[in-house]
Structures are given as structure tokens and as C-alpha cells.
Subunit: 147 residues, 2 copies
């Protein structure tokens, strides 16, 4: 059973687990969705500012989403995402990185009939503990009387 | 040859082409990156607020990126994306939708040695001309003396 928005714990850092990034995954994602040379071409990327292949920002954001969904969101009665307020790519993500995800529910506010607007801050850190992605996202989640 | 940031046309709406969305693509993307029931489970999604499967917001954002990369970005000497300032999911995207992408370069400003910060506004519209995604993104692009 999916729980209503009012059950979401506000202000608590929630651990959503980890994801190991491979070169194959970086190249496959970017070949389909973000085919810039520094994401898909090992030889050309060696001459980029980063000296090698880095993950697409949308790939990194998708890793965040996968971890947040399986770690937290599926326990609640989410209607849909509404807006990502800010998505900051703080450091390059490379093959071999192991990314860990945490989220904090910032607020849960009534937003029309039977639903709440839930604001979440999320962070992905690499295996050195350094943030690679920070974001703030607003989603709609069913409220108790509707859930 | 990739052109420098200073060659990007400011204030002009650039057409980046279209992408036809299929149910298979919606389900495949979401199964890997955003496995919420309203993206992956046709039967369960029939009982959601949208009455059927809708595309993941990250899938929609990835469609935007693919069109923007192949339509415009690959002509310029992009270093990396820096921040997506805002990513607004305005309407559901469903199988059968044909999304068209436009971008406008808002500004190109020097940003340290040999590079510029480029601010872009992008829009995806469906086949009815209605916006489904709007975003603002800042990227780093090599400047003329380095390109």
C-alpha cells in the first residue's frame, strides 16, 4: 500500500543506496540521449577538458531518480513530478565511480483537491563523499483522504 | 570543426527537429531509470490520475537533450553542462506524441580562461503545439581564442 503525502518524514536525511557507474552504461545512455563526444568517444574525450569520458548530466540525474524511486518514492502515493527547480552538476562522473544518494523532504503542503506539493532536496555523492549532483524537485503526492 | 561560443546566435529561435514517442520507449526508459507504476505498468497506470502510461520527466528531458545536441550543440565547442536552472513538466507525454524542440540562446558571457557561460532556454511542444517541457540550462562552451 502506498502511503499518503502526510506520512513523509520532513527534514530527515533518507539513504537511497548506491549505484556503480560503468563505461558501458555511460556510453549507452549518451549514445541514445546525449551524443556529445566527451560522453561517447573515448579517443576524442581524451582531448577534452576532462581528459576522458564523463557521464551525461541527464544520465547522472537518471541515476539519482532510480535510487530515489526504489529507495523512497515507491512507498508513497506519488501522482507525478512537477518541476525540477535546480539541477547542479558539481563534478564530473566517470566510469568506476560509485554514487550514493540521499534525499530530504523539505516540505509537504496541501495543493488542491486530494493532493500535496512535496518539495525534496537530493544529493548524489561519489565514493570520496564529494557531491556530484544536487537538485531540488517538486512532486505531487496524494493526500490522506484520497490515498 | 566546432565553433566557439561567440558564434552562437543570441535571441534567435532554433529548430531542433522532432521525436516520436512510443510506448515501448516510455516503458524501457522508465524500467531502467524511473520505475514508478504510472510509467511502466499499463494496467496500474489506467487507475492513475492520468488514466494511462505517461513518460518519465527524465525521459522527456532526455528527448529534449537528444534533439538539442544533434540539432545545435554539436556545431559548437561545448565543454560541459553546468546547471539546469529549471525544468518544468507542463503536460503529460504519452505514446503517440510527436515532440518538437526549439532552443533560444539567451546570453553568452566570458567565464574564466578560454570559456564562456552560455544560457539557453528550451521548449518541447507536442503535436498540438502545446508545451510539455520548458527548461533553462547553463553550459560552458570554449571561447574563440581557445576553440
Amino acid at each position: 500500500m502506498r502511503r499518503p503525502a502526510e506520512d513523509m518524514p520532513i527534514g530527515v536525511e533518507l539513504d537511497c543506496g548506491t549505484h556503480a557507474v560503468t563505461e558501458q552504461e555511460i556510453i549507452e545512455f549518451a549514445t541514445e540521449w546525449d551524443p556529445q563526444y566527451f560522453h561517447v568517444d573515448r579517443d576524442a574525450a581524451a582531448h577534452s577538458n576532462f581528459g576522458g569520458i564523463i557521464a551525461s548530466g541527464l544520465h547522472t540525474a537518471s541515476i539519482f531518480q532510480r535510487l530515489a524511486v526504489t529507495g523512497v518514492y515507491t512507498g508513497y502515493d506519488v501522482i507525478a513530478g512537477k518541476e525540477i527547480q535546480s539541477l547542479r552538476f558539481l563534478r564530473p562522473v566517470r566510469a568506476g565511480d560509485v554514487l550514493s544518494c540521499t534525499i530530504v523532504v523539505r516540505s509537504v503542503e496541501p495543493d488542491g483537491a486530494g493532493r500535496c506539493l512535496v518539495s525534496i532536496a537530493g544529493t548524489l555523492r561519489n565514493q570520496l563523499g564529494r557531491p556530484v549532483l544536487e537538485l531540488e524537485v517538486d512532486s505531487l503526492v496524494r493526500s490522506r483522504e484520497e490515498a
